[in-house]
């Protein structure tokens, strides 16, 4: 049995030791993140059958439960930790050749620390610890967005930093209120005594938590930083931010709303907010001409969909939302990785300059097509299973209101289909004109060969996973159902921690 602390402590030890290993050889730094993430992936897979039977609660420091920090490795935590380790491993293999300029040793350290922060957020059982690891995640992402040092990157990073810090300050104010009212910081302890105060007193901390985590999770009025940040970062960082960082933000909101506060009265508001975010994201993506901004707005839309699914509140609804997490992580990462080398070869991020890529880079274009179809929700891919589960759980509520909501979700899907088909059409069906206008901003295009092997291996693995999980969703429903059960079953959570 692996102690869940090692999932956080071992990557941290690796990250601290990269400068020392750099004295031995300059190039060894880039091999450390894949090794650390492989360890995390293997450890999470070993823990998975165990936590489905019974969650693993670890106390740090050896003291009894509410007087120390506890790590709660339940089905939700191990599912997320597996996903983070898998995505981190594949993207770090892609980055072996993709990152060529800048302070490379520092990039790999910061990348590993970002993933460690994300793993810490999903495994912890203490509110202030959640804040600390959330800050680790956010601060590493501020730096990595500005990594290339160009105009767009630094501007996006400074706007992201200012907005993210306001969110963090709100979270800290909410923690102050929660501590003042309950006297403890352990999530299970707060959940146990939540009914001893009147609901009016809980309203302000809950709203502050949702606003604070919502900045990082890119909910509707708070997502102004996302299109700039995700489009000016290097492609590997865009993939990790879109696939992991904003999903961890939604996880934090779900944990606070479901487990700590048990606030079922706010779920309708979350459903409406999710739908609003979905519409804003998809409509804005429709009119973009820059491929990375289009993918960034599509991320906003998908987060709206996930929040809608989580807000439905039934067992199938939450399972659908968790399934959509898996879909979005795999598909969006595949899309960003596929376009990474395309942009590098062509030298610009405009969609019109990607025409004819179907012939020049066939494997990357195929990967883009599979990722796009999976996000839209077409049958043999994993996106179909998740969207079907969400719509079915909304239908189960059997009310007119929810039928209207399903209509809005389907409208969003149609808009998504429209803009993704437009890009696929440009990739495959427009022929190469002889005198096409090349936008003269950056001309570092290096010709039209296919991407190197270190880039193709992760793309290939992601494609296989999308197709296999799409055809056999039973592979993941074994963990999705216990995970949904854990989020809904507050009494069970409290009993596990405070035995």
């Amino acid at each position: 049995m692996v102690n869940p602390v090692l999932l956080i402590a071992v990557p941290l030890a690796f990250a601290f030791s990269i400068p020392l290993l750099g004295f031995i050889s300059k190039r060894i730094g880039k091999y450390i993140p894949p090794i650390a993430m492989l360890f995390n992936l293997v450890a999470s897979l070993i823990l998975m059958p165990e936590v489905i039977r019974r969650p693993v609660v670890v106390s740090l420091g050896g003291f009894p439960a509410p007087f120390c920090i506890t790590l709660f490795a339940g089905p939700v935590g191990i599912l997320f930790s597996c996903l983070i380790a898998l995505v981190g491993f594949l993207v770090s293999i892609y980055a072996l050749d993709y990152i060529k300029e800048g302070a490379r040793e520092k990039y790999h350290m910061l990348y590993l620390l970002l993933l460690t922060g994300a793993t810490g957020v999903v495994l912890t059982g203490d509110i202030f610890n959640l804040f600390v690891f959330f800050e680790i995640l956010c601060i590493s992402s501020y730096v990595l967005v500005a990594y290339l040092g160009n105009k767009a990157g630094v501007e996006s990073a400074s706007k992201y930093l200012i907005q993210g810090s306001i969110g963090s300050a709100f979270i800290l104010i909410a923690i102050a209120f929660v501590y003042g009212q309950f006297g403890t910081l352990n999530m299970a302890d707060i959940a146990r005594s939540i009914h001893s105060v009147s609901p009016i007193q809980l309203f302000v901390p809950l709203v502050l938590f949702i606003t604070g985590f919502g900045v990082e999770a890119a909910l509707f009025p708070l997502n102004a930083w996302l299109p700039d940040a995700h489009s000016s970062a290097p492609s590997t960082i865009s993939a990790v931010l879109s696939g992991i960082a904003i999903e961890v933000g939604i996880y934090a909101i779900a944990r606070v709303v479901f487990t700590v506060f048990g606030a079922s009265s706010i779920l309708l508001f979350l459903v409406l907010l999710g739908l609003l975010t979905l519409l804003v994201g998809e409509l804005s993506a429709f009119s973009q001409s820059n491929i990375k901004r289009l993918l960034a707005y599509s991320s906003i839309g998908q987060i709206g969909l996930i929040l809608f699914a989580l807000g439905i509140g039934t067992n199938y609804g939450i399972a659908g939302g968790l399934f959509q997490f898996i879909t979005h992580a795999l598909s969006k990462v595949l899309l960003f990785l596929a376009t990474g080398y395309m942009i590098y070869r062509v030298g610009s991020m405009e969609i019109s300059s990607l025409e004819g890529m179907g012939k020049k880079m066939p494997l990357s274009s195929l990967a883009f097509t599979i990722g796009a179809f999976s996000l839209i929700g077409l049958p043999p891919f994993v996106g179909f299973g998740s969207k079907f589960l969400i719509i079915r759980s909304a239908l189960e509520r059997q009310s007119l209101l929810y039928t209207v909501f399903i209509g809005i979700v389907l409208l969003g899907t149609i808009i998504e289909g429209a803009y993704f088909f437009r890009v696929v059409q440009v990739l495959y069906f427009k022929s190469e004109k002889i005198n096409r206008k090349r936008p003269a901003r950056r001309s570092f295009g290096v010709g039209g060969e296919e991407a190197p092997a270190t880039a193709l291996i992760p793309i290939f693995i992601l494609m296989i996973l999308i197709i296999v999980i799409g055809i056999y969703p039973k592979l993941v429903t074994g963990i999705l159902n216990p995970a949904a059960g854990e989020l809904l079953n507050r009494i069970g959570y409290i009993q596990e921690v405070l035995r």
Partner: protein, 227 residues
Amino acid sequence: MRKIVSIILLSVIAIGIVLTLMKIPFAVPKTKVGAYYVDKGVGQTGAVNIVTSVVLNYRGFDTLGEVTVLFIAALGLGAVLATVKKKTKREIMPSSLVLSTGCKFLFPFILLFGTYIFIHGHLTPGGGFQGGAIIASGFLLIYLSCPKKRINEARFKVTESIAGLTFVITGILGLAFGGYFLFNFLPKGVANTLFSAGIIPIIYIAIGFKVGAELAGIIDGLMRISE
């Protein structure tokens, strides 16, 4: 227009915060974990400074996260300022005799004071972070007095890495010996003496060196871009 919208937003937030604060009485003991720590702290951890035992033993994982955040800040500063193109050299005035003599005279005392604070973290108010900040201010004085002096950057990096690894390895040793991460496995000694409280002084010494090296490295990085 923007100011009016922000004032409306601020008044909404203010009303919300004030309404919640009215329900939290001032200066009344309201916590159960606080009373537990104050009562049992000396017996269970051996440190007479209860805040230190909370920071390093009961909530030691938060301190590990905090050390990581500072590490990220130092790395981030180096990464963002790494591709700065140096423009025309700025003319730096040499410092006066009083300034340079005073700084050179004060530097060892400041280092000694900072070291005293973090070594005695479990007995008196203070600790690793405070001591590290004082050490970094000593380095700042050196930069003020001799603006052209540069410290070897590799030494800062090595100090930071070794100190960080010490913290994590102490935690893992606690896991190996006692079954819990950051378990206090060294003998607790007699309270109120220097060699007491198990692993707490060791971790604080590591944190003191790490924070001092990081903050001094940040100042060094900022000085480098203007040479």
